[in-house]
Symmetry: C3
Subunit: 275 residues, 3 copies
């Protein structure tokens, strides 16, 4: 692996494992820079046959990936739209790229991941979460929109339609144990065991004989969600450009969204906005 | 919401939530009247944009919906068959209508629901059940038939083929915790927390910004079960008109089925019939 | 049921239940003889309408079915390939035959089942496992291959893609409780309750009125995995004939694979082989 420098990612390699630490202070917002770095990194690693497993974690103990940056301008987002694959929007492009990655991708979730951050978790091949600090939420509904980075489809595949509706419309933060029971993540683990568990699993997979990973990923192929992703994008596009959405995001930001304090219970913050 | 009077349903509205209490003494049998009322109510609410969420519960603490009335005559059922949607039988029509409802439908399950009652639960968008009093069972097999209101398909979607076979052929009553583990319901909750949990969830969903519910339900669309429902109906129709089925139902009724006592352990009652 | 004698199976019938005990000392390896016996038995029972339920267990308390015999010669395997159904390889043929069996098939898992043994478990209609002694593992990856008896498809159907990748690439032995939480088996039970639970369930199903089993199995039909099975076979065939695979198997056998001691922690044995 060539040790390219990324603005928001710290990347290192040990044996055949790439460790990617998301590091975008102050709260690991999924900014345009993070999305750009993730797409560049995944593209770079896709051609790197010295890497078999990619483990993602976070430099921030509280936030794995807070959520998509609500202050991102259309201009800033336009850069990400320059070379989109056919049939996906700029958020879906991250998840679909991750789902098609030739390496085994593992998320070590020890903090909160909401919105686009939660979509990154669910698009990875596997996710393991720390009981206590970890949290997952698709809370886009509180801002007058729906998830637009694949969650409506990936969640339905993992947890079924009934729990997907609960997650998307209930717009709550879920703890690791509930997420495991719902099938949202692979497994919830005691927080102090998470590192060792993922290190062992990643090490075991990286040490497999040649070509086994590619064969398994071909046999257990990602489901084709093209139709659902198009439907998701269409309904989202019908909501996101309404003034009400911009007003909700502005009001949320004014109340403390995207600050460390405000993000602790972002659901209550948005629900408490004057109607 | 116009406060139409229903024979077997008590309906009220608070803010954007319709509360529907099934009230068909003595044991909340899913009679022709209840099926008629449910279909009429759902049709009426479908055009009512002041209602965003529908919460179903039961006036009977022991029975959410006992099961389809075994004493219903062909003549009584014929009324329900007058204006069936294409491709579904009269029982499937209830579940399919519920699955297509524009509102978010939530079942608060604090008693038993067997047969067609359990099918109603599983056709709703979400179901939450009280640990202890709640019970779910597809016990049609004990009467010589199979579920014919969608359960064979809806259950397979939710719990997988293996557990669906166990539920349908094992013909037992399942407690809330097992039902949650199987993915049959969204979640099992301590009985004293059920009301507050569902009230909060329904309130949060009802308070979402405009159009979010419709967008989410469009993105997380109901699976099309047309082929499976046709298969289910065909095999059921091959069994239900046999004399043995009528004899089993008569013998069950003679032993106490459709009485409060007999319904406590209806599985044992049917298994104990002289062979 | 005609009491044909099988080399590796003990078969008895009580009422409408066939009890099949796999008995292939010393460690219940899934040898060519076992595969042949299983296919013959299933074919024979398929035409036997006095049998409604088939319960599989093991004569060995430690091993339900250890895994496919690593010492099986091409010549021995060729016999199994003589009359394969279209579109499946010799291992997939066992699972597909089991999935199409007209009877209800139930696995009582009180020991370990790895590789092809685990595939047999997951191809049955239902599986119940003893907390403690039971274990399931798809550890083919440690030998440089992937599962080739349907596990990549059956597991994805049951546990989802993310957990299927974990199981196949993590190549660990899973305990009964984790297997239940993942949806890999129907249920994990205290070891001392397993017999009574399965006996009661099998008895209840066998006592159902005529034709109900056939109707339920038709309504809850096996998913058609033809495409996935072909993909699984193709990637497996690309790996299995490499010298590295033969070397790994030989080295494993030299270290104690297929002995009672070596099979206790077969994963560690293979991971400990000199690289």
């Amino acid at each position: 692996m060539e040790h390219t420098t990324y603005q928001t990612l710290r990347v290192s390699q040990k044996d055949a494992i790439a460790y990617v630490t998301i590091d975008n202070p102050p709260i690991n917002i999924l900014s345009v820079a993070v999305m750009t770095d993730l797409r560049d990194l995944l593209a770079s690693l896709a051609g790197d046959d010295t890497v078999r497993v990619i483990v993602f974690d976070s430099a921030d103990p509280d936030f794995f990936l807070a959520h998509v940056d609500m202050t991102a301008t259309a201009q800033a987002l336009a850069g990400l739209m320059a070379d989109l694959p056919e049939g996906v929007n700029l958020f879906q492009a991250v998840g679909e790229q991750l789902r098609q990655q030739p390496q085994v991708t593992i998320v070590k979730l020890a903090g909160k991941a909401r919105g686009g951050g939660a979509e990154f978790v669910v698009a990875a091949d596997m996710a393991f979460a720390a009981i206590g600090p970890a949290g997952l939420g698709q809370i886009e509904a509180l801002m007058g929109i729906v998830p637009a980075g694949g969650a409506t489809q990936y969640l339905t595949e993992r947890v079924g339609r009934n729990r997907a509706l609960e997650i998307v419309l209930g717009a709550d933060l879920y703890d690791a144990e509930t997420a495991e029971r719902y099938g949202w993540i692979n497994r919830a683990l005691p927080a102090h065991e998470l590192d060792a568990f993922v290190d062992r699993l990643a090490g075991n997979i990286a040490a497999l004989p040649d070509d086994v990973i590619a064969a398994a990923k071909q046999a257990i192929a990602p489901h084709n969600h093209a139709d659902g992703l198009a439907r998701e994008n269409d309904v989202w596009a019908g909501l996101v450009f309404r003034p009400a959405t911009a007003q909700l995001m502005s009001a949320g930001l004014a109340r403390g969204a995207q600050t460390r304090d405000g993000e602790q219970d972002l659901e209550a913050l948005f629900r408490g906005l004057p109607g």
